[in-house]
Assembly symmetry: C2
Homo-oligomer: 284 residues x 2
């Protein structure tokens, strides 16, 4: 794709990384970044990663071929309401929210006939946050899920897919609600497990943290993510997440039963199945 201008709304880890990656893959494109706070815009400017960094939405979105919303999902509808009247109906619009059913449901109507909105979720992140953690390589090899609904324009879907591919993503397309069930399992539940495990260890024996090895560090790494953002994500996806969590509790009850067995046979089978599946993941 050839973009003459991209508008990035929100100068965090993802917004900053998109700016850095775009500079590499589309050196000719104008990169404009909107930030809510003047200091954040100044920081983007100081880092030299955008042609324009401003708190003025008008200037940032004017004539952009693509607008990417990179703010927390709770802040998206209000910004979308401000952006929609300012752009042409052909303008491509996407977002990077970790939950898609509620985001698509609220943003698609706002951009109806006033932009071409298609939801995205690049599965690239870090427990670190902010522009200082941004990287031009954040998206390399990451899966990006594109979640069109029945009203999405096929050409817009293709162009937004192409945008993520250009940044290095592997693009997969699926309906918003299917997306949400999947991230409940592979992202939101693991986050709750990590936080809950840290919480448990501290409650049972805070001294135990001094004895942890790499296994515990890895298992709980995501618990260092920003609490405000994560509380919002977990809440926005609470239906599918509650189902996954209930199923996980049931699974752990079964594991507790295996532990009580008089021999190891079933526990070995359980661990061997998990190993086989996890090893497969390593190779992909």
């Amino acid at each position: 794709m050839t973009l003459s201008k991209i508008a990035i709304i929100g100068p965090g880890l993802l917004g900053g990384s998109i700016a850095l990656a775009m500079r590499k893959v589309e050196p000719g494109a104008q990169i404009a970044v909107w930030a809510r706070r003047a200091e954040a815009a100044q920081r983007v400017d100081a880092l030299g990663i955008a042609d324009l960094a401003s708190t003025e939405l008008d200037a940032v979105v004017a004539d952009a071929g693509l607008i990417v919303l990179c703010v927390p999902i709770g802040a998206m509808p209000e910004l979308a309401e401000q952006i929609a009247p300012r752009v042409s109906p052909e303008t491509l619009v996407t977002d990077v929210g970790s939950v898609k059913a509620s985001v698509v449901e609220s943003l698609a109507p706002i951009f109806k006939n006033r932009g071409q909105f298609v939801g995205s979720h690049p599965m690239a992140g870090s427990e670190r946050t902010g522009i200082e953690a941004a990287s031009a390589r954040l998206f390399e090899g990451a899966v990006c899920m594109i979640t069109p609904d029945e009203d999405s324009d096929a050409a817009a879907v293709a162009e937004i897919s192409e945008f993520w591919r250009a940044l290095g993503c592997v693009v997969r397309m699926l309906p918003p609600d299917v997306h949400d069930e999947i991230v409940a399992l592979v992202s939101h539940l693991p986050h709750l497990l990590a936080a809950s495990l840290v919480d448990l260890v501290c409650a049972c024996n805070p001294d135990a943290l001094h004895f942890c090895g790499n296994g515990f560090r890895d298992t709980t790494r995501v618990a260092s993510g920003p609490p405000e953002m994560w509380a919002e994500i977990l809440r926005a996806n609470r239906g599918p997440l509650k189902e996954s969590l209930d199923a996980m509790i049931e699974n752990l009850r079964e594991a507790a039963k295996l532990l009580g067995n008089s021999d190891d046979t079933e526990m070995k089978q359980f661990l061997a199945r998990a190993k086989t599946e996890r090893d497969r993941l390593r190779r992909t």
Copy 2:
């Protein structure tokens, strides 16, 4: 410490790494490795990481100042019975088992008056196994727990601590049963959680594995560990582990309640507490 000879019983990840690390820190010491299978002994020999690699216990343990049992915990008592009559009462003996109460209970009486046994557990490992994964740097910065009992000789405890320190470990001393409660929390429970999460995702939606990011990979990495070894470890520590698992299930039920709350306040507090504790871990 100055050792003229160390006998390493078992040529796996830990045994191999001890041999490699010893070569660096005590270039003058003779390194002897015992393997059950001739091919394993030949492999050690071919890698040149020991002065002697053999299936003959006699030759391996003869005149060793320190013997380190690096076999699965289930194989330890039988080997200890064979080793004890062959060594002098001054010989230092330790092991690297991940569970300590049951190991100390079974090995200490075997070496009573026939060697100086003190249990160890270097918290250094990998989901990879075998000598091919061994590294001279495996122990650098790792915590090694030393678990003397009331009969342990103070000088032997000091020398074995010194051995692990020489390999790069941070040594912490604690009773076997306290050790087991701690590893139940920071190692065995995380292993069960990882295996259970992989199992759940595969049962709910095997396709979801194609969408996972680094968070899921990290959270489940340990599930790639060897099932036989882990089933044995979990079984040997099933008392403390069952308690930790029950507490974890209770914790997850609480998290499910927070998810059902009408606002985010408590969920944010829960995630913020976990982040604070996990961040502290990052700095240690």
